[in-house]
Assembly symmetry: C2
């Protein structure tokens, strides 16, 4: 398994009472006592349980909200975040005529492999550690638009090796949650520009060397562990992204 | 001048007391009573002045914080946001060897023009309205790396026509604040890929048709008015961007 991230270390090293309470609450989420999408008990009940002031409990909860583990829903309470759906690659691409179409996913291969250097580094795998590599194509408007290669650590994901390719869901994150109990809580995308290789160009029906957008994504679970690294490549002419600064 | 944005209309149509108070506070910022970078009075003093509960005043202030007009600085108070510096295009590009270098700006031309359709639309200018067009090059490591074309509405910016090119600051937004009293409060970037034209390729010392990143940016002032539209073009091979989802 990947090592724990700085996000969880932050809590063990923190001194203030609210931070120690936050650590305890986080532990209850990670232990599965409070599940993704479910409400946690009221602040008053929790502050009584831990014997701390309401303000301290609010600070603890607020820190977990800022960390993305919990979310407040106005008038309804505080909930464990439901996990990402994985339908987020469309933030970076627009596929004109295919806008109304339901995206499809074709799994090409699922294999146990020694992770290549880049994937091993991004997943914090040991040098000799096994990973699972998944190749898939994502289609819009009946056309292959994105090529994806995903790596996940072997241990927690090994059940995927026994799964028929046809039984993979079009969205991976909900499938990880349902089949493996792994919730993807956040993801970091690194965008850059590339050229299509001969094989990529053939599959995308574009010329070799055609401009491509390359997205390298690391996905993190509720505990802040790196649980998936994926590289997505698509025609750069379909790239659109909107960013706000303030 | 551009029409007022939905951001300000939102306040005039709002019913709750906190929203009407927020509108009054916003008016004091826009009138220049409280200036960019300065603290506003304490919440208790303001709630007394307007004769409303402290909670109502907090709600009004919070809405202006979320709008980006005010910011809370922990332990120090609430301040009028200082405005963007404009050094933000480096979020999208990495210029390897030039990392330590101070970026330079070369103004090539400053002209009163009829805004082209795209700029007129983005600045919400009338069909016959004049604009000022500024062409500049941005350099890192002694090399021209980015080509920029900026449009601003003629009225509030006409003083720029009399300014010597050498007296333009390398960062436009602080110059707008100092010389024109216009604070850039937020900006929206639209990213896409393009190919270099012959003229662009010559200036950037790259082949014609070379892949380029194109950034179209609209900048907004404190009142939410569109006060600048700019198109920035650079070598796509230097494009790097990091986005987080949660």
């Amino acid at each position: 398994m990947p090592a724990s991230s700085p996000a969880s270390d932050k809590y063990t090293q923190s001194q203030p009472l609210w931070a120690r309470i936050a650590l305890a609450l986080r532990g209850r989420v990670l232990a599965g006592e409070w599940k993704a999408g479910e409400a946690i008990p009221a602040e008053s009940a929790l502050s009584e349980f831990y014997g701390v002031a309401l303000g301290t409990m609010r600070g603890a909860i607020q820190s977990l909200v800022e960390d993305g583990l919990l979310e407040r829903i106005h008038g309804r309470g505080t909930f464990v975040r439901g996990g990402l759906t994985g339908a987020t690659m469309l933030r970076f691409f627009r596929f004109g005529s295919a806008e109304g179409d339901v995206p499809a996913s074709r799994i090409k291969s699922v294999k146990a492999v020694k992770a290549p250097a880049l994937a091993a580094r991004e997943l914090l795998l040991a040098a000799d550690e096994q990973a699972i590599c998944i190749e898939r194509q994502r289609c819009w408007g009946g056309k292959v638009q994105l090529l994806e290669t995903l790596w996940v650590p072997h241990g927690p994901f090994k059940a995927l090796l026994d799964l028929d390719k046809k039984d993979f869901s079009p969205l991976m994150y909900p499938m990880y949650a349902e089949r493996l109990g792994i919730t993807v809580n956040r993801a970091v995308d690194e965008l850059s520009f590339d050229r299509l290789s001969a094989a990529q160009a053939r599959t995308l029906d574009l010329p070799v060397g055609h401009p491509a957008l390359r997205v390298e994504r690391v996905a993190f679970d509720l505990a802040g562990r790196r649980i998936e690294f994926r590289v997505t490549v698509g025609n750069a002419d379909h790239f659109r992204y909107r960013a706000e600064i303030r």
